[in-house]
């Protein structure tokens, strides 16, 4: 009954590409991929198809530097016209403020291990701001616990202002169903899981039905794009490359792939709700991600959502994420390369001057009340991080992140 072939992951090879066929040389693969991505980025219009394909194929987008260039393109974000840094008022009278605060304060594990506490504290404050900012811009969207796991992933890679732009788009498209007033739409998306399993492995499907395990074990995977459950940030990034380039239902196909990957374990477990839930909700940290990604794509093309949607359980409700996906994809087709965007934006009167007319630069860089909020941390570091992300934009912020590995002494040399 098993139609999904379980391929062994070849240790160094390029493995299975997104259509499950091509195999490339491991060594020149990376170089070739870098060249391909760069070429796609400078094409006019930007070659979004290539960017999507490379983001999903083995190794994903390879480096954070490339992610900062490609991620915004995948979401049709103009990096030369980013939203302003949120003002102090973003926290005022927000119904979700307390919940966001509580969740972000507890999200220590999402930050790099070696990061000094003072820097983490700055980023946590930014995280609160960007979440509230996006919610404020979109009153129709509702915060859910786990949204902060998505936001932190973006913040750590692209910096505050670009994170706002990306989160805004994601929330209106890919994450849209999760942000309804209730979680009924989310449940609807989860309902795709069992039908996928049924297509591939009826035995496993029936076992899980008998156990009455439900699908809640995959809820945190789905709504955080696995950010909540993976302990290694590099794995989260790899999956974000994949999901940013894919259909909004792809995270559920990956869930199915993970369950199928653990088929033997599952079948050996006592056929009991608690036991199976427990087994499945603990995601193994050593999953063969490249293999699973390729298999998810295979599943997606073999059993596309439209095919599954014919099932009764999936007909009752309409998913906004799914129904708007085509519009979203179309919107990404006509993007200009960054060099052109930069010229165009300059010609219009640059964002920085518009920015300056609204705030005086320094005030934005280091709001006094927050400076006090952080207590006795390393003042210099705070200034550095604020300065970087607020005034110089995400690009420089990003350089500091990668090149300096968060060392406060090195950051100080910058200023």
């Amino acid at each position: 009954m098993k139609r999904l072939t379980r391929k062994k992951q070849s240790a160094g090879g390029f493995g299975v590409s997104e259509n499950g066929s091509a195999t490339r040389e491991p060594d020149c693969g990376r170089k070739q991929k870098l060249a391909e991505i760069h070429q796609a980025l400078i094409s006019d219009p930007v070659d979004i198809e290539t960017l999507r394909r490379t983001a999903a194929s083995k190794g994903g987008l390879l480096t954070d530097e490339l992610r900062r260039k490609v991620w915004p393109k995948l979401l049709n974000v103009n990096v030369y016209d980013l939203p302003h840094k949120p003002g102090r008022d973003v926290r005022e009278n927000h119904k979700d403020y307390n919940q966001v605060l509580l969740d972000v304060r507890r999200s220590m594990k999402r930050f790099p291990k070696g990061m000094p506490a003072a820097e983490r504290a700055v980023l946590q404050e930014q995280l609160i701001d960007i979440i509230l900012e996006v919610l404020k811009r979109n009153p129709q969207l509702h915060y859910y616990q786990g949204y902060h796991d998505v936001a932190v992933t973006l913040l750590l890679v692209v910096g505050e202002r670009m994170a706002i732009a990306m989160l805004d788009t994601l929330s209106n498209y890919h994450l849209r169903d999760f942000m309804d007033p209730t979680m009924d739409s989310t449940k609807h998306i989860l309902n795709y899981l069992m039908p996928i399993l049924e297509q591939v492995d009826v035995e496993l499907h029936d076992f899980m039905i008998r156990a009455e395990v439900g699908t809640i074990f995959a809820l945190s995977w789905l709504i955080t794009w696995y950010g909540h459950v993976l302990s290694q940030f590099k794995h989260t990034l790899r999956l974000y490359d994949f999901f940013l380039a894919s259909h909004p239902l792809m995270p559920i196909y990956l869930s199915a792939t993970i369950v199928l990957h653990r088929e033997r374990e599952v079948k050996q477990t006592e056929c009991d709700m608690a036991m199976v839930h427990h087994l499945l909700s603990r995601i193994p940290q050593d999953l063969p991600y490249e293999l699973l990604i390729a298999q998810s794509q295979e599943l997606f093309s073999q059993y596309p959502p439209s095919l599954l949607a014919k099932r009764a359980a999936l007909q009752s409700r309409k998913s906004l994420s799914i129904s708007t996906f085509q519009v979203f994809q179309l919107s990404t087709l006509h993007q200009r390369p960054d060099s052109v965007l930069q010229r165009l934006t300059k010609a219009q009167g640059s964002t920085t001057s518009r920015h300056a007319s609204r705030h005086s630069g320094l005030e934005v860089a280091l709001p006094r009340d927050r400076g006090q909020l952080w207590g006795q941390g390393n003042r210099m570091v705070k200034m550095a991080v604020w300065g970087l992300s607020a005034t110089l934009g995400a690009a420089v912020f990003a350089v500091a992140q990668t090149a300096l590995d968060w060392g406060p002494d090195v950051l100080q040399q910058l200023f």
Binding site: R106, G146, L219
Partner: protein, 242 residues
Amino acid sequence: MAEGGLSVEFPGSLKSSTLPPPRTRIFKIIVIGDSGVGKTCLTYRFSAGKFPEKTEATIAVDFRERLVEIDGENIKIQLWDTAGQERFRKSMVQHYYRNVHAVVFVYDVTNAASFRSLPAWIEECKQHALGTEVPRILVGNKCDLQDSIQVGTDVAQQFADAHSMPLFETSAKNPNGQGDGSFGGGNSDHVEAIFMTVAHKLKSQKPLVLSQPPVGSGGTINLSRGMNGGGDGARSWGCSSC
């Protein structure tokens, strides 16, 4: 595995290191209450024997379990640690209310709003067909934060009495008290004692018997000492006020 995450741990304090024989009885306990009151910390302390250094927001539900021995019988205690955010209650957590043997309501003694939410949580339980016939206890957490207490013992006790539940004030962080005996139970881990009390109650399957708090004092119900050594389940459910 991450610390705040799912864990099955069998600390050595109770006889528990071997796998349960097939016929081990399972007690399924659901832990509910507002976000941030410390449900994850309490259940983690019971299953792992310590306060988690870092917890994270619980999404939908986490599962923890621990094997204990009561009166010579091995019993598996399953704790379902639920998400506090309202949106998860209705459609998501539903599934996990099924076949629950006991309910632990948690509020944060330093957060009056979390106490005011309790009627809604009780209502939630009723809607899932968990009424007064199912053993229920009320836990006021974070007692270590003596200086920021917003919910006094007397009002909590009144509420607990009105709903026929025993009240336990404790701290997941420092469950042995600060040496002043204000909420601790001697050398034993108070959080462990609370869950064990529920387990004893379930094992005995006797109706909930509460001792009356002294008139006017509104005393907190405290665990009787020596309860950890097993003994009569029904007696250990009986409480002494402090």
